[in-house]
Symmetry: C2
Subunit: 102 residues, 2 copies
């Protein structure tokens, strides 16, 4: 069970975090993670291609919003709940209350 590098959220510019949230596909991922807690990449149902989804995961990861855990051939992703809450208090509450359209 490996876990890879995660950037330091305390030093992450808030603009970078907002940028990561500025795409409907990425918001959809976040919303799913708010319910499911942990998720394999393939479980994120979407119209987009594998490579595009992989790109979005990378953006979220580099912004410090999600982390990845590899177990065999499956990559599980999850939210960095505590660290995000510390960097941007109230963000999760806001995201949970979010109404469509994304």
């Amino acid at each position: 069970m490996k876990k890879d590098y995660s950037p330091n959220l305390k030093k992450m510019p808030v603009s970078a975090i907002f940028y990561a949230l500025s795409d409907p596909a990425r918001l959809e991922i976040i919303l799913t993670l708010l319910e499911e807690k942990e998720l394999s990449c393939g479980q994120c149902k979407t119209e987009l291609s594998k490579s595009t989804m992989s790109h979005h995961f990378k953006v979220l990861r580099e912004a410090g919003l999600i982390q990845r855990r590899e177990e065999g051939k499956v990559h599980f992703i999850s939210l960095r709940v505590d660290e995000i809450e510390e960097r941007m208090p109230g963000l999760f509450k806001l995201l949970k209350a979010m109404k469509k359209p994304l």
Copy 2:
């Protein structure tokens, strides 16, 4: 005293709002407006050119975050506090608590 068109925030995609917040210069504007309430464009001290600032104002306006009021030759901008609070409850609290780096 004119006031120009403002988009309907209820129909505004949250991703568009997050996008508007994804630039340090625009965050700086928002932070200033949180303190000053109303501001002429020129009062936003910055290193950026007039035209660049005007561009950022436009992005914020089109995302529904600020509104403009013209009085003579001066344009005053201000936050659409109530409507934003309704579309994204808690966003202002979050923005006020924001720590550097932007």
